[in-house]
């Protein structure tokens, strides 16, 4: 399956890229996707995860074609 991965703000800088594509055989969770893309960089404990533009739990399975995003706590407004 093919998963599009996005990183924002400080996590984008930490991981070193804003977008990646993971091609792998499932089943995989969002946490597994992080490990594939971020390599040895540990996921900060306050990381927020969205799948297909909706917040979700980091251990939720992802499916072929999903867009998975990782980002730090939000600071708008």
């Amino acid at each position: 399956m093919s998963i599009t991965v996005k990183f924002f703000a400080s996590l984008r800088e930490r991981v070193g890229h804003s977008e990646a594509v993971v091609d792998a055989a499932g089943p995989l969770t969002a946490r597994d996707i992080w490990a594939r893309v971020a390599g040895t960089q540990p996921m900060p404990p306050n990381t927020l995860v969205a799948v297909n533009l909706e917040y979700t739990a980091v251990d939720r399975p992802v499916r072929d074609g999903d867009e998975v995003a990782f980002f730090p706590p939000v600071t708008g407004g």
Binding site: S10, A69, F71, V74, T75, G76
Partner: protein, 145 residues
């Protein structure tokens, strides 16, 4: 009900007039308009801040702001809502966000406006990076209400 992201400075008064005159479908029906304006400070956590860059998640940010606008209309008897939020580079004293709520009576407008700005600040995907005299710094958490 509108959600707009802007990369340029906007005039709060002009935006409110424009929306009320051209868009609002509640002419003659609203007795209360409550607005919240968030403005960029030139200080944070004891440091002078010269400017900031607001990053967002195209697609998710708009979707989230529409979702909380829908929720506000479900919870309160409001006639219309408007959220305008800056993205990109911003300077002190410039407005970052405008939230406006129109209702027949003031209680619903106050409550819904407070709900919208608190939801926006705690859940909408925006990230501030401050420009300090000695470099850039990501804001790690918002200040309390």
């Amino acid at each position: 009900m509108a959600v707009e992201l802007r990369s340029e400075i906007f005039d709060v008064g002009a935006e409110l007039r424009r929306y009320q005159d051209a868009v609002l479908r509640a002419r003659g029906k609203y007795g209360a308009t409550v607005t919240f304006i968030g403005t960029m400070r030139d200080f944070n956590e004891g440091d002078a801040v010269q400017g900031m860059t607001l990053e967002y998640y195209p697609g998710m940010t708009e979707k989230h702001l529409h979702a909380i606008s829908d929720e506000a209309r479900r919870r309160w008897d409001v006639l219309d809502t408007l959220i305008i939020h800056r993205v990109g580079k911003i300077l002190p004293d410039e407005p970052i966000v405008l939230v406006a709520v129109w209702s027949a009576h003031r209680a619903a407008a106050f409550d819904a406006c407070r709900y919208l700005i608190e939801e926006l600040k705690t859940r909408a995907p925006f990230w501030k990076q401050e420009r300090l005299p000695d470099g850039m710094r990501w804001v790690e958490h918002n200040t309390p209400p």
